[in-house]
C-alpha cells in the first residue's frame, strides 16, 4: 500500500471517529443545562412541558392579534414562523412582508390546528435533544449520580398464594406485569427518565440517574399497584377541557383545578393514558373527571383474558369477578347505564368503556385494537395476581460525588498522558513524537468508539483508559526497541524501520489479541464495573493496534520519504 492510500485511510478513520464523537460534544458542551434538564425528563414530563408551552404561546399570540400588534414575532417563535412559512407555501399563499402574530396564525384553519402545531414543535425540539443524548457517550451512575436497584419479583410467594407451581408462561407473565407496574410508577418521577430492564428470569434492574433518595424510590417499588373502576362525569370532563384550552396553568401537579366550579364535589380530575409506540405510558393530553371514590376495587377481579367477539371478530377483554365484587358491580352498572366507566391504575386512567347495561360477574369490554386489549388484560391481571417486589440490591451515588469523580478521572487521564509523553520524548527523542501523537489519536479513537456503540463511561472504565494509555505505549516500545536493534546492526533508516515493524508485528498482535480475547469475554459475561472496565480495555487495545502498527508506521515513512531523512532520532546512544 502506498503512503497516499494509507494517509487517506487514516483521514477517513479520523473523520468517521469525529462523526461518532460529535453528538457527545454537542450534548456535553453545546447544550445549555436547562435544555439538558428538560430533555432528560421523562416522556411524560416532556409532553407536559409541550402542552403547557403551546397553550401559553397561543394565548400570547392571540392577545397580540387582539391588541393589533403588527410587529414581527421575536426569536421565541422562530420555529413556529418557519412552520407557518411552510404552510403558506403548501397553500400557495404569498408570504407576508413581516411575520406578525396575525400573519403566522393565518396559516392555520383554526385554533386547534395552531395549538397542535405549537405543541408538536416544542415536543419535537426536546425529543430531538433526547435522541442526541441517546447517541452521546453515556455517563455511568458513579459519574452522573443516581441510584441503581435490582428488584426481584417474588414468584415463590405468588406460587404459594396460587397454591400450585407456576408454569413458565405464568412466571414470565408475572414478571412482565411487575415491569409494567414499575414503568407506570417510576415515570411519574419526571426528574430523569429511568432505565427499567429485565435481568435474567425474575430480576428487574432499575436505574434512576440524578436521583439518589432511597425514600422516594421505596415509595414506588412498595405496594402492588392500585386498580379500581370509577364512573366518569362526561359533562365536567368537557367543561375541564374547554377551561384548560384557555387556562393552561389552571391545573396543578395534584390535578387540582384553579376554578372550583368545574369539577363537582366528590369528583376528581385524572390524566388519561395510552401506550406509546415503545410500550411506555404516554399521557394523551386529555383529562377525565371521575368519581373520587372507586365504584369497585380491583382486588375483586379473579381473572382477565383477551378473546375476540364471536360475530365481529373484534378483540375484547373478558374478566370475571368474585361473588361479592359481582354483586357490587351489578349495582354500580345498573345505576350508571349509558355512562362511561374508567379503569384506573395508580391514579392513571387507562381506558374508558361505555356501560351498555347491568353487568354481574363476567364482564366484556370491547371497542379497541388487539394490542390495547392485551395491555388492558395485563393491567386487570396485575390486580388479580399481585406480584410482590423485593429489593435485592440498591446502590446510590450522590451527583456531587459523581462530579468529583469526573474531575478526578479527567485529571488522572491528563496527568497520565503528560507523564507518558514526557517520558517518551525524553527517552526516544524524535521517535517519541510519533508515540505521543499515536497516544493522542488513541484517546480520541477510544472516546469515539465509546460514543459510537453507546457505551457507558464509568469510573472503572476511565481507569481502564488510563491503564490502556500506559499499556498501549508498549506496542510503540516494542517497535522502537526493534528498530534500535536493527540500527545497531548498521541498517539505514528505511531498512531499520521496515525490519523493526516487520519483526515486532507478531509480538504485538499476539499479545494484544490475547488481551482483547480475555477482555471481550469478560465484557460479554461480566456485569457492572467489570463490564465497563473490560469493554474499555478491549477498545483501548484495538485502537492501540491501529495507532501503533498503522499510524506510527505512516509517520515514520512520511519522515523518511518527504523530508529525505536518513538518520534516526530514536535514542541518545544509537544514531
Amino acid at each position: 500500500m502506498n503512503k497516499t492510500k494509507r494517509f487517506l485511510i487514516v483521514l477517513a478513520v479520523l473523520a468517521v471517529a469525529f462523526a461518532f464523537l460529535f453528538p457527545s460534544i454537542q450534548w456535553y458542551y453545546l447544550t445549555p443545562k436547562e435544555e439538558q434538564s428538560l430533555a432528560l425528563g421523562s416522556r411524560e414530563a416532556i409532553r407536559d412541558y409541550a402542552w403547557r408551552m403551546a397553550r401559553v404561546d397561543l394565548a400570547d399570540l392571540e392577545s397580540k392579534v387582539k391588541a393589533g400588534d403588527e410587529s414581527p414575532l421575536g426569536d421565541r417563535y422562530d420555529d413556529f414562523v418557519a412552520a407557518a412559512k411552510k404552510a403558506y407555501k403548501e397553500l400557495r399563499m404569498d408570504a407576508p412582508a413581516a411575520w406578525s402574530a396575525k400573519a403566522a396564525l393565518a396559516a392555520y384553519d383554526n385554533r386547534t390546528d395552531a395549538l397542535t402545531e405549537l405543541e408538536s414543535l416544542y415536543r419535537q425540539r426536546i425529543l430531538k435533544l433526547k435522541n442526541l443524548h441517546g447517541s452521546a457517550v453515556q455517563l455511568g451512575l458513579d459519574l452522573s449520580g443516581g441510584m441503581s436497584i435490582v428488584i426481584r419479583a417474588d414468584l415463590e410467594a405468588l406460587a404459594e398464594r396460587a397454591g400450585r407451581d407456576l408454569s413458565p408462561a405464568e412466571r414470565d407473565d408475572a414478571v412482565v406485569r411487575a415491569v409494567e407496574i414499575l414503568n407506570g410508577r417510576i415515570d411519574r418521577f419526571g426528574l430523569t427518565e429511568p432505565v427499567i430492564r429485565r435481568q435474567g428470569e425474575d430480576r428487574i434492574y432499575v436505574e434512576i440517574p440524578g436521583a439518589a433518595d432511597p425514600e422516594r424510590i421505596n415509595g414506588i417499588i412498595m405496594g402492588r399497584g392500585r386498580l379500581a373502576f370509577h364512573i366518569v362525569d362526561e359533562e365536567a370532563t368537557a367543561r375541564l377541557r374547554d377551561y384548560l384550552a384557555v387556562n393552561p396553568d389552571g391545573i396543578d401537579e395534584q390535578f387540582r383545578v384553579a376554578d372550583p366550579t368545574i369539577v363537582p364535589a366528590g369528583f376528581v380530575a385524572r390524566r388519561f393514558y395510552r401506550k406509546d409506540a415503545y410500550g411506555l405510558d404516554e399521557w394523551t393530553g386529555a383529562y377525565m373527571v371521575i368519581t373520587a371514590e372507586p365504584g369497585l376495587d380491583g382486588n375483586h377481579i379473579e381473572s382477565a383474558t383477551v378473546g375476540s367477539d364471536a360475530i365481529t371478530g373484534q378483540p375484547e377483554v373478558l374478566f370475571s369477578l368474585d361473588a361479592k365484587g359481582g354483586e357490587m358491580f351489578y349495582q354500580l352498572t345498573s345505576a350508571n347505564v349509558n355512562k362511561t366507566m374508567a379503569v384506573v391504575l395508580d391514579d392513571r386512567v387507562r381506558t374508558g368503556a361505555r356501560i351498555s347495561g347491568p353487568i354481574q360477574a363476567s364482564v366484556r369490554i370491547t371497542g379497541f385494537g388487539a394490542e390495547e386489549a392485551n395491555n388492558l388484560a395485563l393491567i386487570l391481571r396485575s390486580a388479580a395476581l399481585p406480584v410482590e417486589l423485593l429489593v435485592e440490591s440498591q446502590q446510590a451515588i450522590g451527583s456531587s460525588l459523581g462530579e468529583d469523580a469526573i474531575r478526578q478521572g479527567v485529571n488522572a487521564v491528563a496527568i497520565a498522558l503528560i507523564a507518558v509523553f514526557a517520558f517518551m520524548l525524553l527517552y526516544y527523542k524524535g521517535a517519541g513524537v510519533n508515540a505521543s501523537l499515536a497516544q493522542v489519536l488513541n484517546l480520541y479513537l477510544m472516546l469515539s468508539i465509546l460514543s459510537a456503540f453507546n457505551l457507558t463511561l464509568t469510573l472503572p472504565a476511565i481507569a481502564g483508559f488510563v491503564l490502556t494509555l500506559g499499556m498501549s505505549v508498549d506496542a510503540n516500545v516494542i517497535i522502537f526497541e526493534r528498530i534500535k536493534e536493527e540500527l545497531r546492526e548498521g541498517k539505514g533508516r528505511k531498512a531499520a524501520v521496515e525490519a523493526g515493524f516487520g519483526k515486532a508485528f507478531w509480538a504485538i498482535m499476539d499479545s494484544n489479541i490475547t488481551t482483547i480475547i480475555a477482555a471481550l469475554f469478560l465484557a460479554q459475561l461480566g456485569t457492572g464495573p467489570i463490564q465497563g472496565f473490560a469493554v474499555s480495555l478491549a477498545i483501548g487495545n484495538m485502537s492501540s493496534l491501529f495507532t501503533s502498527l498503522f499510524v506510527s508506521r505512516l509517520l515514520f515513512d512520511f519522515n523518511t520519504d518527504m523530508f529525505k531523512r536518513n538518520t534516526m532520532s530514536i535514542s541518545w546512544r544509537v544514531k
Binding site: 443545562k33 436547562e34 435544555e35 434538564s37 412541558y49 403547557r52 401559553v56 426481584r152 426528574l191 440524578g210 436521583a211 433518595d213 432511597p214 425514600e215 421505596n218 412498595m222 396553568d249 423485593l390 429489593v391 440490591s393 446510590a396 450522590g398 451527583s399 456531587s400 460525588l401 468529583d404 469523580a405 496527568i415 497520565a416 507523564a419 507518558v420 517520558f423 517518551m424 527517552y427 472503572p460 481507569a463 488510563v466 491503564l467 500506559g470 499499556m471 505505549v473 508498549d474 516500545v477 516494542i478 526497541e481 519483526k503 507478531w506 509480538a507 490475547t514 488481551t515 480475555a518 477482555a519 469475554f521 469478560l522 459475561l525 461480566g526 464495573p529 467489570i530 472496565f533 473490560a534
Partner: protein, 410 residues
C-alpha cells in the same frame, strides 16, 4: 551484542520465593479472609453526614426549579413556561456568607429562610448528596458543616451506641472526625425480606434521636441482598476460571502447550500475590478489586506473550542452542522493552493513585503490586516454567534414547 544476563540461574530461587509468597497469600486468605465490600457482603451500608440545619428553601414560581449544591457551586436550574428557562449558579467560595447567598437566591425567586448561621461562609453548606432537589412550596432543608473544631460533634463510639439497637452494626469514620462523615454497616442475614428499606429508616431514626432532629444527612445508602451477593461471588470465580481457559486455548494454538501452561501459571501467581496483598493490607474487596485483578490478568498475559514471541523467534534462528541460552538471550533482548513499558504504565497508574480517591485509589495501589508481580512472573515464572519443561522433556528424551540404545546393544 549485548552481554547476556543469565536469568536462568535465578529461576530456582525465584520459584522458592514465589512459592513462599503464594503460600503466605493462601494462608492469609484462609485465616483472615477478604475484607469484603458491600458488593459481596449482604447488608446495608449507609453513609451519613452529621451537620447543623441552616434553614429551608422554597420556590413558589411557575416553573420547575432544581437545586443542586456541590462542593464548590450551588446551582438552580429553572425549566418551564412562565419564565424563560435558565440556570442560576453561584460559586460558594466567593459568594460570601450564607446571608449573602440567601439574598442572591431571593433575587431569583427562591426563598431561602435562614434560621441559623447566617453570618457563616456559604462554603460550609452540605452538598445535596441525595441528588438534585426539586424546589416547591414545600420546604427543602439545607445543612451546613461544623464551623470549627469546637462545633464538631459525634464520634464512632457515640454512633455505635446510638444505632446499636438496629442489629449487628459496624461504624467507621470517613476522612477523620472533623469531617463528621460516617459509614454504618448493618449485616443482613436474609430473614427480613424488607431489610433494604426498613433498616436505613431505623438508622436515621436512631441517629436523630441521639443527635437531634435535622442533624443527620444521609449521603448514600447501598444495600445488597443475601442472594445477590452470593451470585456475584460465584460468577466472579467462574468468570476468572473461564478467562484462564480461553487464554490457555489461544496460547496453545499460537505457541505450544508448555508456553500456554507457563503463561497461565504466571497469571495464577500474579492473582495469588494480589489477593495476598489485599488480604494482608485489609483492603476492601469489591467489584473494583475484581476489575484490578482482571487488569493484571490482561497485563501479565501481554507481557508474557511478548517474551514468548521472542523465545520462539530466537529458537527458530538458533535451533541448536540450548533452551536456557535462548531464554536468557530473549529475556536480555527484551529487557529494555520490559523496563520501559513497566515504567510508562506505572506512570499512568501513579497518576490514578495520586489524583483519585476512594476505591479507585485502592484500585491503583493493587495495580502497582500486580504489575510488579506481573513483570517478575513473566521473566521468572513463565519463562522459567518453559525452561523447566524443556529440560525435563530433554532428560526424558535422553532416557528414552538411552533405553533404545541399550536395547539395540543387547
Amino acid at each position: 551484542m549485548k552481554r547476556l544476563v543469565r536469568f536462568h540461574k535465578a529461576f530456582l530461587p525465584a520459584a522458592i520465593v514465589s512459592a513462599a509468597l503464594v503460600l503466605f497469600s493462601v494462608f492469609g486468605l484462609a485465616t483472615k479472609g477478604f475484607n469484603l465490600g458491600v458488593d459481596f457482603q449482604a447488608g446495608v451500608n449507609e453513609y451519613v453526614q452529621l451537620a447543623y440545619p441552616v434553614g429551608t428553601m422554597r420556590y413558589a414560581g411557575g416553573s420547575t426549579a432544581r437545586l443542586s449544591i456541590g462542593d464548590t457551586t450551588l446551582s438552580v436550574v429553572f425549566t418551564g413556561d412562565d419564565a424563560q428557562s435558565r440556570t442560576a449558579r453561584w460559586n460558594l467560595a466567593t459568594v460570601g456568607t450564607i446571608a449573602d447567598l440567601a439574598a442572591a437566591l431571593r433575587a431569583e425567586g427562591v426563598e431561602f429562610a435562614v434560621r441559623d448561621g447566617a453570618g457563616l461562609a456559604a462554603a460550609l453548606l452540605v452538598p445535596t448528596y441525595q441528588g438534585d432537589f426539586v424546589l416547591s412550596a414545600a420546604a427543602v432543608p439545607v445543612h451546613r458543616r461544623a464551623r470549627d473544631a469546637n462545633e464538631v460533634f459525634g464520634s464512632v463510639e457515640e454512633i455505635r451506641a446510638a444505632v446499636g439497637s438496629v442489629g449487628s452494626v459496624a461504624v467507621q469514620d470517613v476522612g477523620g472526625r472533623e469531617s463528621m462523615q460516617y459509614v454504618i454497616r448493618v449485616g443482613d442475614d436474609g430473614s427480613d425480606p424488607a431489610f433494604g428499606s426498613t433498616v436505613p429508616a431505623a438508622i436515621d431514626r436512631a441517629l436523630e434521636a441521639a443527635f437531634g432532629a435535622g442533624r443527620v444527612v444521609t449521603m448514600r445508602t447501598d444495600f445488597v441482598g443475601a442472594r445477590f451477593s452470593k451470585d456475584l461471588a460465584n460468577n466472579s470465580w467462574k468468570l476468572f476460571l473461564m478467562t484462564l481457559a480461553v487464554i490457555m486455548i489461544y496460547a496453545s494454538v499460537r505457541f505450544k502447550v508448555q508456553y500456554a501452561a507457563g503463561a497461565v501459571l504466571a497469571i495464577v501467581h500474579d492473582v495469588a500475590i494480589m489477593i495476598g496483598f489485599m488480604v494482608w493490607t485489609r483492603m476492601e474487596f469489591n467489584t473494583t478489586s475484581i476489575a484490578a485483578i482482571l487488569t493484571i490478568l490482561g497485563y501479565s498475559i501481554n507481557d508474557t506473550i511478548v517474551i514468548f514471541d521472542r523465545i520462539r523467534e530466537d529458537h527458530k534462528l538458533n535451533p541448536t542452542d540450548s533452551m536456557t541460552t535462548i531464554i536468557d538471550k530473549s529475556i536480555t533482548e527484551t529487557l529494555g522493552r520490559t523496563i520501559i513499558t513497566t515504567a510508562t504504565t506505572l506512570l499512568a497508574v501513579f497518576a490514578l493513585y495520586f489524583f483519585t480517591s476512594g476505591s479507585i485509589k485502592d484500585f491503583a495501589l493493587a495495580l502497582v503490586v500486580g504489575m510488579v508481580s506481573g513483570t517478575y512472573s513473566t521473566i521468572f515464572i513463565a519463562s522459567g516454567f518453559v525452561g523447566l519443561w524443556d529440560s525435563v522433556a530433554a532428560k526424558r528424551r535422553a532416557k528414552a534414547e538411552g533405553q533404545v540404545g541399550a536395547a539395540t546393544a543387547r
